[in-house]
Amino acid sequence: MGYLIASYALVFGTTLLYRLHLARERSALQRSLSLSPRG
Protein backbone atom coordinates (compact mmCIF):
# COMPACT_ATOMS: atom_id res chain seq x y z
CA MET A 1 0.00 0.00 0.00
CA GLY A 2 2.93 2.31 0.80
CA TYR A 3 4.35 1.93 -2.74
CA LEU A 4 0.95 2.70 -4.21
CA ILE A 5 0.55 5.87 -2.14
CA ALA A 6 4.12 6.88 -3.12
CA SER A 7 3.20 6.53 -6.84
CA TYR A 8 0.07 8.63 -6.50
CA ALA A 9 1.84 11.25 -4.37
CA LEU A 10 4.65 11.48 -6.93
CA VAL A 11 2.25 12.12 -9.82
CA PHE A 12 0.17 14.62 -7.84
CA GLY A 13 3.18 16.40 -6.29
CA THR A 14 5.32 16.58 -9.44
CA THR A 15 2.55 17.98 -11.65
CA LEU A 16 1.60 20.49 -8.93
CA LEU A 17 5.22 21.66 -8.51
CA TYR A 18 5.64 22.02 -12.28
CA ARG A 19 2.37 24.00 -12.49
CA LEU A 20 3.58 26.33 -9.70
CA HIS A 21 6.93 26.77 -11.45
CA LEU A 22 5.15 27.72 -14.70
CA ALA A 23 2.85 30.16 -12.86
CA ARG A 24 5.84 31.86 -11.25
CA GLU A 25 7.71 32.17 -14.55
CA ARG A 26 4.59 33.47 -16.30
CA SER A 27 4.07 36.16 -13.63
CA ALA A 28 7.73 37.22 -13.84
CA LEU A 29 7.56 37.49 -17.65
CA GLN A 30 4.26 39.41 -17.56
CA ARG A 31 5.75 41.82 -15.00
CA SER A 32 8.90 42.27 -17.05
CA LEU A 33 6.89 42.91 -20.24
CA SER A 34 4.59 45.42 -18.56
CA LEU A 35 7.64 47.32 -17.24
CA SER A 36 9.43 47.41 -20.60
CA PRO A 37 9.08 50.68 -22.60
CA ARG A 38 7.16 48.85 -25.34
CA GLY A 39 4.86 47.08 -22.82
Binding site: S7, F12, R19, R26, S36
Partner: protein, 237 residues
Protein backbone atom coordinates in the same frame (compact mmCIF):
# COMPACT_ATOMS: atom_id res chain seq x y z
CA UNK B 1 3.86 40.73 -32.28
CA UNK B 2 0.39 39.57 -33.39
CA UNK B 3 -1.19 36.80 -31.33
CA UNK B 4 -1.20 33.47 -33.21
CA UNK B 5 -4.34 31.30 -33.12
CA UNK B 6 -2.39 28.65 -31.17
CA UNK B 7 -1.70 31.17 -28.36
CA UNK B 8 -5.32 32.38 -28.34
CA UNK B 9 -6.61 28.79 -28.17
CA UNK B 10 -4.13 27.89 -25.40
CA UNK B 11 -5.48 30.74 -23.25
CA UNK B 12 -9.14 29.88 -23.95
CA UNK B 13 -8.93 26.10 -23.53
CA UNK B 14 -7.06 26.11 -20.21
CA UNK B 15 -9.06 24.25 -17.54
CA UNK B 16 -9.12 25.78 -14.02
CA UNK B 17 -6.42 24.21 -11.80
CA UNK B 18 -8.84 23.52 -8.92
CA UNK B 19 -11.12 21.51 -11.22
CA UNK B 20 -8.15 19.42 -12.32
CA UNK B 21 -7.04 18.81 -8.73
CA UNK B 22 -10.58 17.60 -7.95
CA UNK B 23 -10.64 15.40 -11.04
CA UNK B 24 -7.29 13.83 -10.14
CA UNK B 25 -8.40 13.27 -6.54
CA UNK B 26 -11.62 11.62 -7.79
CA UNK B 27 -9.60 9.40 -10.15
CA UNK B 28 -7.19 8.38 -7.37
CA UNK B 29 -10.13 7.79 -5.01
CA UNK B 30 -11.93 5.59 -7.56
CA UNK B 31 -8.83 3.50 -8.21
CA UNK B 32 -8.15 2.96 -4.50
CA UNK B 33 -11.74 2.36 -3.34
CA UNK B 34 -13.74 1.18 -6.38
CA UNK B 35 -11.19 -0.77 -8.45
CA UNK B 36 -10.89 -4.47 -7.59
CA UNK B 37 -7.68 -5.85 -6.08
CA UNK B 38 -5.81 -8.04 -8.56
CA UNK B 39 -5.79 -11.68 -7.44
CA UNK B 40 -2.19 -12.30 -8.58
CA UNK B 41 -0.34 -9.01 -8.00
CA UNK B 42 -2.33 -7.65 -5.08
CA UNK B 43 -2.83 -3.98 -4.26
CA UNK B 44 0.36 -2.82 -6.04
CA UNK B 45 -1.35 -3.54 -9.39
CA UNK B 46 -3.36 -0.34 -8.77
CA UNK B 47 -0.25 1.59 -9.86
CA UNK B 48 -1.66 0.83 -13.32
CA UNK B 49 -4.19 3.68 -12.87
CA UNK B 50 -1.42 6.31 -12.85
CA UNK B 51 1.44 4.54 -14.68
CA UNK B 52 -0.39 3.85 -17.97
CA UNK B 53 -2.21 7.24 -18.21
CA UNK B 54 1.18 8.96 -17.67
CA UNK B 55 2.59 6.88 -20.56
CA UNK B 56 -0.34 7.97 -22.77
CA UNK B 57 0.33 11.62 -21.85
CA UNK B 58 4.03 11.23 -22.71
CA UNK B 59 3.13 9.66 -26.09
CA UNK B 60 0.71 12.50 -26.86
CA UNK B 61 3.38 15.08 -25.95
CA UNK B 62 6.01 13.53 -28.21
CA UNK B 63 3.55 13.04 -31.10
CA UNK B 64 2.57 16.73 -30.81
CA UNK B 65 6.28 17.65 -30.94
CA UNK B 66 6.73 15.65 -34.16
CA UNK B 67 3.52 17.01 -35.72
CA UNK B 68 4.46 20.59 -34.83
CA UNK B 69 7.89 19.93 -36.37
CA UNK B 70 6.19 19.02 -39.66
CA UNK B 71 3.89 22.05 -39.46
CA UNK B 72 6.81 24.36 -38.67
CA UNK B 73 8.79 23.09 -41.68
CA UNK B 74 5.71 23.58 -43.87
CA UNK B 75 4.35 26.91 -42.58
CA UNK B 76 7.51 28.40 -40.96
CA UNK B 77 5.44 29.86 -38.13
CA UNK B 78 7.25 30.10 -34.78
CA UNK B 79 4.00 29.36 -32.88
CA UNK B 80 4.22 25.73 -34.07
CA UNK B 81 7.81 25.56 -32.90
CA UNK B 82 6.84 26.94 -29.47
CA UNK B 83 3.97 24.43 -29.14
CA UNK B 84 6.29 21.57 -30.16
CA UNK B 85 8.88 22.66 -27.60
CA UNK B 86 6.21 22.95 -24.87
CA UNK B 87 4.83 19.48 -25.74
CA UNK B 88 8.31 17.92 -25.47
CA UNK B 89 8.85 19.49 -22.03
CA UNK B 90 5.47 18.38 -20.66
CA UNK B 91 5.90 15.00 -22.40
CA UNK B 92 9.24 14.37 -20.71
CA UNK B 93 7.69 15.24 -17.35
CA UNK B 94 5.14 12.45 -17.83
CA UNK B 95 7.78 10.11 -19.28
CA UNK B 96 9.81 10.67 -16.09
CA UNK B 97 6.73 9.80 -14.01
CA UNK B 98 6.37 6.60 -16.08
CA UNK B 99 10.01 5.72 -15.35
CA UNK B 100 9.50 6.32 -11.62
CA UNK B 101 6.08 4.69 -11.10
CA UNK B 102 7.09 1.69 -13.29
CA UNK B 103 9.96 0.55 -11.02
CA UNK B 104 7.71 1.03 -7.96
CA UNK B 105 5.21 -1.35 -9.55
CA UNK B 106 8.04 -3.71 -10.62
CA UNK B 107 9.43 -3.85 -7.07
CA UNK B 108 6.05 -4.99 -5.77
CA UNK B 109 5.42 -7.52 -8.57
CA UNK B 110 8.76 -8.77 -9.89
CA UNK B 111 10.64 -8.25 -6.63
CA UNK B 112 13.21 -5.99 -8.31
CA UNK B 113 13.22 -2.33 -9.29
CA UNK B 114 14.41 -2.74 -12.86
CA UNK B 115 14.79 -5.24 -15.70
CA UNK B 116 16.27 -4.62 -19.16
CA UNK B 117 12.98 -5.68 -20.73
CA UNK B 118 12.38 -4.38 -24.31
CA UNK B 119 9.58 -1.98 -23.27
CA UNK B 120 11.58 -0.57 -20.34
CA UNK B 121 14.75 -0.21 -22.43
CA UNK B 122 12.97 1.63 -25.27
CA UNK B 123 11.26 3.91 -22.72
CA UNK B 124 14.68 4.89 -21.35
CA UNK B 125 15.82 5.50 -24.94
CA UNK B 126 12.74 7.67 -25.56
CA UNK B 127 13.42 9.65 -22.37
CA UNK B 128 17.05 10.32 -23.39
CA UNK B 129 15.95 11.23 -26.92
CA UNK B 130 13.63 13.99 -25.68
CA UNK B 131 16.06 15.08 -22.98
CA UNK B 132 18.57 15.69 -25.80
CA UNK B 133 15.83 17.56 -27.70
CA UNK B 134 15.30 19.87 -24.71
CA UNK B 135 19.07 20.41 -24.35
CA UNK B 136 19.23 21.32 -28.02
CA UNK B 137 16.38 23.81 -27.52
CA UNK B 138 18.06 25.40 -24.51
CA UNK B 139 21.09 26.23 -26.69
CA UNK B 140 19.09 27.69 -29.56
CA UNK B 141 15.98 29.31 -28.09
CA UNK B 142 14.20 31.67 -30.50
CA UNK B 143 16.51 31.00 -33.44
CA UNK B 144 14.84 29.87 -36.71
CA UNK B 145 17.86 27.67 -37.47
CA UNK B 146 17.53 25.93 -34.10
CA UNK B 147 13.78 25.57 -34.66
CA UNK B 148 14.36 23.94 -38.05
CA UNK B 149 16.86 21.45 -36.66
CA UNK B 150 14.61 20.70 -33.65
CA UNK B 151 11.66 20.13 -36.00
CA UNK B 152 13.58 17.46 -37.92
CA UNK B 153 14.75 15.93 -34.64
CA UNK B 154 11.15 15.91 -33.33
CA UNK B 155 9.90 14.15 -36.47
CA UNK B 156 12.61 11.46 -36.25
CA UNK B 157 11.42 10.74 -32.69
CA UNK B 158 8.02 9.46 -33.93
CA UNK B 159 9.30 5.97 -35.04
CA UNK B 160 10.77 5.50 -31.53
CA UNK B 161 7.32 6.19 -30.02
CA UNK B 162 5.82 3.50 -32.30
CA UNK B 163 8.69 1.13 -31.44
CA UNK B 164 8.04 1.78 -27.75
CA UNK B 165 4.36 0.88 -28.07
CA UNK B 166 4.96 -2.33 -30.04
CA UNK B 167 8.20 -3.37 -28.25
CA UNK B 168 6.40 -6.15 -26.35
CA UNK B 169 5.00 -7.72 -29.57
CA UNK B 170 8.25 -7.28 -31.49
CA UNK B 171 10.38 -8.95 -28.83
CA UNK B 172 7.77 -11.54 -27.86
CA UNK B 173 9.15 -14.13 -25.49
CA UNK B 174 11.80 -11.86 -24.03
CA UNK B 175 9.37 -9.32 -22.54
CA UNK B 176 8.20 -9.51 -18.92
CA UNK B 177 6.28 -6.21 -19.06
CA UNK B 178 2.47 -6.75 -19.14
CA UNK B 179 0.79 -6.75 -22.57
CA UNK B 180 -0.77 -3.68 -24.17
CA UNK B 181 -4.37 -2.99 -23.16
CA UNK B 182 -5.89 -4.09 -26.47
CA UNK B 183 -4.63 -7.62 -25.65
CA UNK B 184 -7.09 -7.73 -22.73
CA UNK B 185 -4.66 -7.11 -19.87
CA UNK B 186 -7.32 -5.09 -18.00
CA UNK B 187 -9.36 -7.28 -15.62
CA UNK B 188 -13.10 -7.16 -14.86
CA UNK B 189 -14.20 -3.98 -13.06
CA UNK B 190 -10.97 -2.13 -13.86
CA UNK B 191 -12.28 -0.33 -16.95
CA UNK B 192 -14.12 2.59 -15.31
CA UNK B 193 -11.43 3.60 -12.74
CA UNK B 194 -8.84 3.28 -15.51
CA UNK B 195 -10.85 5.50 -17.85
CA UNK B 196 -11.24 8.10 -15.09
CA UNK B 197 -7.47 8.02 -14.50
CA UNK B 198 -6.80 8.50 -18.22
CA UNK B 199 -9.24 11.45 -18.43
CA UNK B 200 -7.69 13.12 -15.35
CA UNK B 201 -4.07 12.72 -16.49
CA UNK B 202 -4.79 13.76 -20.10
CA UNK B 203 -6.71 16.84 -18.85
CA UNK B 204 -3.72 17.75 -16.67
CA UNK B 205 -1.38 17.16 -19.59
CA UNK B 206 -3.27 19.62 -21.81
CA UNK B 207 -3.60 22.15 -19.00
CA UNK B 208 0.18 22.11 -18.44
CA UNK B 209 0.78 22.19 -22.19
CA UNK B 210 -1.34 25.32 -22.61
CA UNK B 211 0.31 27.13 -19.67
CA UNK B 212 3.77 26.12 -20.94
CA UNK B 213 2.88 27.37 -24.44
CA UNK B 214 1.82 30.71 -22.94
CA UNK B 215 5.16 30.92 -21.08
CA UNK B 216 6.97 30.17 -24.36
CA UNK B 217 5.09 32.96 -26.12
CA UNK B 218 5.89 35.42 -23.31
CA UNK B 219 9.57 34.41 -23.46
CA UNK B 220 9.58 35.04 -27.23
CA UNK B 221 7.88 38.42 -26.75
CA UNK B 222 10.41 39.41 -24.10
CA UNK B 223 13.30 38.36 -26.35
CA UNK B 224 11.76 40.30 -29.24
CA UNK B 225 11.40 43.45 -27.08
CA UNK B 226 14.94 43.05 -25.75
CA UNK B 227 16.39 42.74 -29.27
CA UNK B 228 14.34 45.71 -30.53
CA UNK B 229 15.53 47.84 -27.59
CA UNK B 230 19.18 46.85 -28.24
CA UNK B 231 18.79 47.64 -31.92
CA UNK B 232 17.34 51.06 -31.01
CA UNK B 233 20.28 51.74 -28.65
CA UNK B 234 22.81 50.80 -31.36
CA UNK B 235 21.12 53.03 -33.91
CA UNK B 236 21.17 55.88 -31.35
CA UNK B 237 24.94 55.44 -30.91
Amino acid sequence: MNQHWIDRSAEKLRTPSMLLALLLSAAFGASVVQAPIDSVQGVIQKTLYVHVPCAFAAYIGFVITGTCGMLYLWKEEMAFDRLGHAAAEVGILFCTLVLVTGPIWARGTWGKWWSWDPRLSVTVLLWFLYLAYLLLRSFSEGSPRGARFASIYGITGIPVIILNYYAIDLFAGRAIHPDNLEKGSLGAGMGMPFLLGVIAIIAIFFHLLFVRTEVGTLRAREMHDHLSANLGDNEGD
